[in-house]
Symmetry: C2
């Protein structure tokens, strides 16, 4: 197997694409903007889904499913929301094809099947869901309503990047309804915590928890909370958002409830989502020049065992040990593959599993076996050690935690190293161009300044970190007084 | 809680709708033809998904995800397939809305965003998947390719019935590629077996395994295998299909492989799917005039414990016992709810959990408690017994199997009773009108006769059962010789 992954220092975008392609994660489809998520990529996404779903359920949420289609008039009802999504909508206008009378073997849209009202493929489901909640919520007894949906959504995108930006993507969207603003804010913050916990403890990706500036808010939200990750290319990625929607959607869809102390009130709302973008964050956080690196908690395959043998007699001896080891590791909850395929040589297999990011590789050779030894290789550090077969299982099980922790530590150190405090606009621009990463700087709090910085440098305010310390300072752009630093970065 | 479910004998369609509504399973959405799957309904669907997914993986399949959109030209490539689906396609023609200059606050389709080629919302994914497989398959070493997808699909329907027939539905679709016809046929039959096993052992719904007549085949298939269930309304439901697609899609998308013994050959294909229709089959198989009845293997909630008490002191004593019992049952793998909500009286709660089909209800009253007794009610038989607290957990755990088996037995007996052999067309029509169900009759094997019977009676050939015994006879319609009986029915 020849070297298939471009080095990061040569071309980090090509490196990312090479990993996505060669690890079998995803590819561009024949439909512009849409991707095919390949089996290995989907297996990682399934692990993400399972872990997130358990967390949602543990925090009292239930799943449901709402229509793919949103009537155009629904989108019009919440003005900010409409403005935010109208420009990137796939629109269904007809419901039938017919044989083209002028072109044999061709189909054409049947003009007689034109819809009276166009349907939008959901870019997000607030409108159709709040239209439904109207019938589900009458009294405070019906609240809170804590619902999540796993679904595909479409936001028309021309310049796509696998996982990070695609026209169709998979996600979950939570939509909750509450009797008070305070409860809704609590929910918003709670779900941000769930996301941050998942990112850090499952993905091993450290994130900054923060609040978006008004400019960067979700269309229709009063407040958007977010988790932001710093990737190896020096760009930030918004990895998840949780929105406090106030009563905007309740008012747009007339959803009121009989309050406990009498009177009808509008319901308070939140929504929160993470998507297959997380796959992009995962890939670009940990991988190296040899390929994908996966945290054990999300690896579809934890351990691969590769036999190194000459004749069939040697293989038999190795297989006996390997299969016993596989069984023992599986009993400890690990997923293990014994690759005794005779079509490929060990070196080829080593490279293949490295590209795929399998956390641990065990190589069993004939000579080692005679000494009761096996070789164990860690994917995260690329280090190898030869240890006794008797302790191998225990050792590998312990490695899972170590690798998980090491990846988080490594990414945390990188994020810290990639976060720079600056005190002038010159310094700000220099850091962005030469180093990248998060830039912590004073800002005067106006959208005007934010816009100008964005236009001039392509950097946006990723967030105002939660629990941000107060600090007197001057805006790097306008020189006006500022009470806190915010995090800027160029972003995906 | 007043009686909310219409009796079956009064109006079986209304009965079905009442159950779907009152058990909180689904409802019609604001978008014509599309349903909202409510949390309790979705929880059952999740259990189905989980069980099926495990079976798919156990038989060597992996999941992946392909685009929602299919270019119109793809649909044209396989003629039979195009004919079958063209008339019920949602068509995306534009990708942007804009503010309507003539109507303040309104959005309109931006005419400048017209797509050069229209996109179809997938009604099924053979075309987009085989277009992708073209790049994945070069050699016999790449085969078999055993892939499944969980997705939403759209087939435009005007006359909808929740779960049984909706424009958008959720399903899984397996798409496999093989080197030989024999392997592909084996896969087709194997997956039919997986479906039948799931239907019978999880849903407790007996099914007839069979093959469709050419008329009823999937558009683009050489053979369609199916499982057919008989519901309480006397109508059949096609509960799952598995198609042998031959080389049709490989030829349409030019997918060839280098064979082991040299030369390039077209790949052999199968596809197979089950959908949220299964929810309809489940509901209409087991439910009674009190509401939904669920087999324990698919029940989101296995046991509900309801306290019957007067004062808070009584409740405390009951709660101590109830919570201990809940814990013990949960340790046995059951999902248990202790409903000590003080807003509703026990009778109201009993009715609610009956409507929702919770398999077992445990009532704990103060007087019973003094005698160390609890009352256990089975949802399937509506029978109650009072037993010692000491044996209650063991008893309830055993009941799960008993209920699962009883439901299957009951449905099997009903299906047998609803299957009638007839030997004349008059008898055939009389049975259809007076009794319904499956009608086993001789047929001459021609599409012409099949069509005429369908037009005259609305009954279709549901399938030619697998392992059908040979039997000399005469076609009930044409009088021509026939070698076997086939199963007719009116169907959903």
């Amino acid at each position: 197997m020849s070297k298939v992954i471009t080095d990061r220092k040569t071309d980090i975008n090509q490196w990312y694409q090479d990993i996505v392609a060669n690890a079998g994660l995803a590819e561009h489809s024949a439909v512009k903007g849409c991707m095919v998520i390949k089996p290995y990529g989907y297996a990682i996404w399934e692990k993400m889904q399972r872990a997130l779903d358990e967390k949602f359920k543990a925090t009292g949420h239930v799943n449901a499913y709402f229509p793919l289609f949103i009537p155009k008039s629904f989108l019009e009802k919440e003005e900010g929301h409409a403005e935010g999504f109208a420009k990137e909508c796939a629109v269904v206008t007809h419901y039938r094809l017919k044989v083209d009378p002028e072109k044999k073997g061709s189909l054409m849209v049947d003009p007689e099947s034109k819809l009276t009202e166009e349907l939008i493929i959901r870019p997000t489901s607030e409108t159709i869901i709040w239209n439904t909640y109207k019938n589900w919520i009458q009294s405070y007894r019906d609240l809170p309503l804590l619902i999540n949906q796993w679904a595909n959504v479409v936001r028309w995108e021309m310049r796509t990047k696998l996982f990070l930006r695609t026209a169709e993507f998979l996600w979950q969207e939570g939509h909750t309804a509450h009797a008070t603003a305070e409860e809704a804010v609590d929910e918003t913050v709670k779900m941000l915590g769930v996301y941050a916990d998942f990112a850090e403890n499952f993905m091993a990706v450290p994130v900054v928890r923060g609040v978006k500036t008004p400019n960067e808010r979700f269309a229709g939200a009063l407040d958007t909370y977010c988790i932001e990750a710093m990737l190896q290319d020096g760009k930030a990625l918004q990895a998840g958002t949780s929105h406090f929607l106030g009563q905007n959607f309740a008012k747009a869809f007339d959803v009121k409830f009989a309050a406990k102390n009498g009177g009808m009130e509008y319901v308070w709302a939140t929504s929160w989502g993470v998507s297959t973008r997380l796959m992009g964050a995962l890939i670009m956080s940990h991988s190296d020049d040899n390929g994908l690196v996966l945290p054990p908690k999300l690896a579809p395959l934890h351990v691969v065992i590769v036999p190194i043998y000459k004749g069939s007699e040697g293989l038999e001896k190795i297989s006996a040990v390997a299969l016993q080891m596989k069984k023992s590791l599986e009993e400890k909850g690990l997923t293990v593959k014994y690759d005794d395929d005779d079509k490929f040589r060990p070196g080829h297999k080593f490279a293949e599993y490295e590209v795929k990011g399998v956390p641990v590789r065990i190589a069993i050779g004939e000579r080692d076996l005679e000494k009761n030894l096996v070789e164990i290789a860690r994917r995260d550090t690329l280090s190898k050690e030869t240890i006794s077969i008797d302790t191998a299982v225990e050792h590998v099980v312990a490695l899972m935690d170590k690798i998980q922790q090491n990846l988080f530590l490594r990414a945390s150190e990188r994020t810290a190293q990639m976060t720079t405090q600056v005190n002038s606009y010159d310094e700000f621009k220099a850091v962005l161009d030469e180093k990248g990463g998060f830039v912590s700087a004073h800002w005067d709090g106006t959208s005007e300044t934010e816009e100008k910085i964005k236009t001039e440098t392509k950097a946006t305010i990723r967030c105002i970190p939660l629990n941000n310390p107060e600090e007197e300072g001057k805006c790097i752009y306008s020189g006006k007084p500022s009470k806190q630093r915010v995090l800027f970065a160029r972003a995906h």
